[in-house]
Amino acid sequence: MSSQFAVEFDSTVYENKRRFPEEFAPIANSIRQDIVKALVLAGSGHSGGPLGSSDIFAVMYFGGYMRYDVNNWFGSSRDRFVLSAGHMAPVMYATIANTGAFPRSEMATLRKYNTRLQGHPGRDMGLPGVETSSGSLGQGISIAVGMAMSDKHLDKNDHRVFCLTGDGEIQEGSVWEAAMSASHFKLDNFCWIIDNNDCQIDGRVPEVMNVYPIKEKCEAFGFDVIECNGHSYTELMNAFDRFMANQQNGTGKPTAIIAKTYMGHGVSFMNDKFEWHGKPPSWEQAAVALQELNN
């Protein structure tokens, strides 16, 4: 493989704090670069969802919305994030690595034997920030609802629980059982983010199995629904701000953020192409992708 090149991971880490919208761009870019590098080294894995949702992760983890201690993730009182769409693991790993909770260079072990960065998240691996195993679609959101119930009704703390699902994932009926219970139990500490890229493995979401209208469905299930551009830091901040306000004001309503994204966003040849759901870039493609991200 002559086109193979030496892959180096930057060691910069970013602080989690209230930011101006424009401050998120370098963080999202750094996440995207780590994703591309890890995937090309792995030789398998999912590019599209992770790259397309990097902006959401940048705002959620680095804008002061999720509270965590990078030096003692599981030992600390913290907010929790559940990746219900387990196949999008690379973006969660890259995001956590960029917080400094584990070395970014560990991204090089993605999908390799005995790695903490399993193809789909494995809680038994003990990677900081991985709250639950996932990979069977539609289950994470119910786990997140259980966590939010525990926080709000049993431990009576002010913790927040975030959960991201895909938009194909919400074809699973149990997702709607979870949604129903989130509003039934008045979980205003629960924030459901739908990565609405309109793509899944077999094609465009409405052609595989139509899930629209998503907004009206979520409203009917009792959510405060915010539709936003999932690549606009301002809109994402507004959405997360509204979730925080819902919790602080004790509205009793869970929040759903329908983030309109493009699969593979940030890498021109992947943008909005469902074919990029489940494959890694080749070495040539990775070189181009990294070049684009560096400009």
Partner: protein, 335 residues
């Protein structure tokens, strides 16, 4: 011992895809339901050929299983395929009550079975479904060993009446059967003759068992390798004969050691002709990421474990008080 040739490598899922197209050509009431991974489980071939008989259900395995039941109760022969993790276990209740209790003519194709799925890791490497499926009344459960066998098994399950499940893998595996090799549902195929030890196996592990038998032959041990492609209904006669004639058994499967082929064989053996048994499979653990061959090695799913287990089984038989025949030279087995 007789030579068994490796005729190349191909994933068993290709056989499933081609078998479905053949079935669609033969029977116009064969319909296919997709679960958003039609390319990887190869139902895409049927979709291209018979678009009017293909329905995309999306990522909704429970719904697909019960829709299939409705179609079956309306005279169709529905196939639903996904990864085995999701179309055998996610929908377990639907399979039990809607499909099996109704004796509905529903056919399930469960792909990405076993540890050889590779880098996707534990969530996708289903290792438990054989144990579940074979306990369902009316269910037929097949684990083909190679491409041709998968194709024949797919056609056979489509042409029998009643619920049936076929398990296939993602990675290319050695091919050693041809279009002319015998295949009858419920009838195990003996691949090598021998009376020293019986190796009962299915799926990818059949090839590993053949290799183990070749290695054992170098030590003068004649192993009887039997491909038990149908786990349910199980071939009682082949198992009992093997137990009586060999006096010890090794089972080998890409599945948990509990409850799968090994369990099925043990039930037959205990009842009819108890002999020492050794079980090769995944030992009560989840899988993990890695390359397929690497994982097969790490999780103890190669000919080497089968070989070692054969020696242990024989030693147990020969030293044991089970009353079965004593073998000439135990020292040889201790290596």
């Amino acid at each position: 011992m007789q030579e068994i040739q490796k005729l190349g490598m191909k994933p068993t899922r290709f056989g499933f895809g081609e078998g479905l197209v053949e079935l669609g050509t033969r029977h116009d009431n064969v319909v296919v339901l997709g679960g958003d991974i039609t390319g990887s489980v190869m139902t895409s071939l049927f979709k291209e050929k018979f678009p009017e008989r293909f329905f995309s259900i999306g990522i909704a395995e429970q719904n697909a299983t019960t829709i299939a039941t409705g179609l079956a109760l309306s005279g169709k022969i529905p196939f639903f395929a996904s990864y085995g993790a999701f179309c055998a276990l996610r929908n377990a209740d639907q399979l039990r009550i809607s499909v099996c209790y109704n004796e509905a003519n529903v056919k399930i194709g469960g792909g990405h079975a076993g540890i050889s799925v590779g880098p996707d890791g534990a969530t996708h490497q289903v290792l438990e479904e054989v144990a579940f499926l074979r306990t369902l009344p009316h269910m037929t459960m097949i684990v083909p060993a190679d491409f041709e066998e998968a194709k024949k098994a797919t056609i056979a399950m489509g042409e029998m009446v009643g619920p049936a499940y076929i398990r296939f893998g993602r990675s290319p595996v050695p091919m050693f059967t041809t279009a002319d090799s015998p295949f009858v549902l419920g009838k195990a195929n003996q691949l090598t003759d021998g009376n020293d030890v019986a190796i009962l196996t299915n799926g990818w592990m059949v090839w590993e068992s053949i290799v183990a038998a070749q290695e054992l032959a170098k030590r003068g041990i004649k192993a009887r390798v039997i491909n038990v492609h149908t786990v349910k209904p199980i071939d009682v006669e082949a198992i009992v004969t093997a137990a009586r004639e060999c006096g010890c058994i090794v089972t080998a499967e890409e599945h948990q050691v509990h409850g799968g082929l090994g369990g099925a064989v043990a039930e037959v053996v205990c009842k009819n002709s108890p002999v020492p048994m050794e079980f090769v499979g995944v030992k009560d653990s989840f899988g993990g990421s890695g390359e397929p061959e690497e994982l097969m090695e790490k999780f103890g799913l190669t000919w080497k474990e089968i070989y070692a287990s054969a020696l242990v089984a024989m030693e147990r038989r020969d030293k044991g008080s089970s009353g079965f025949r004593m073998v000439k030279d135990v020292a040889v087995y201790n290596g």
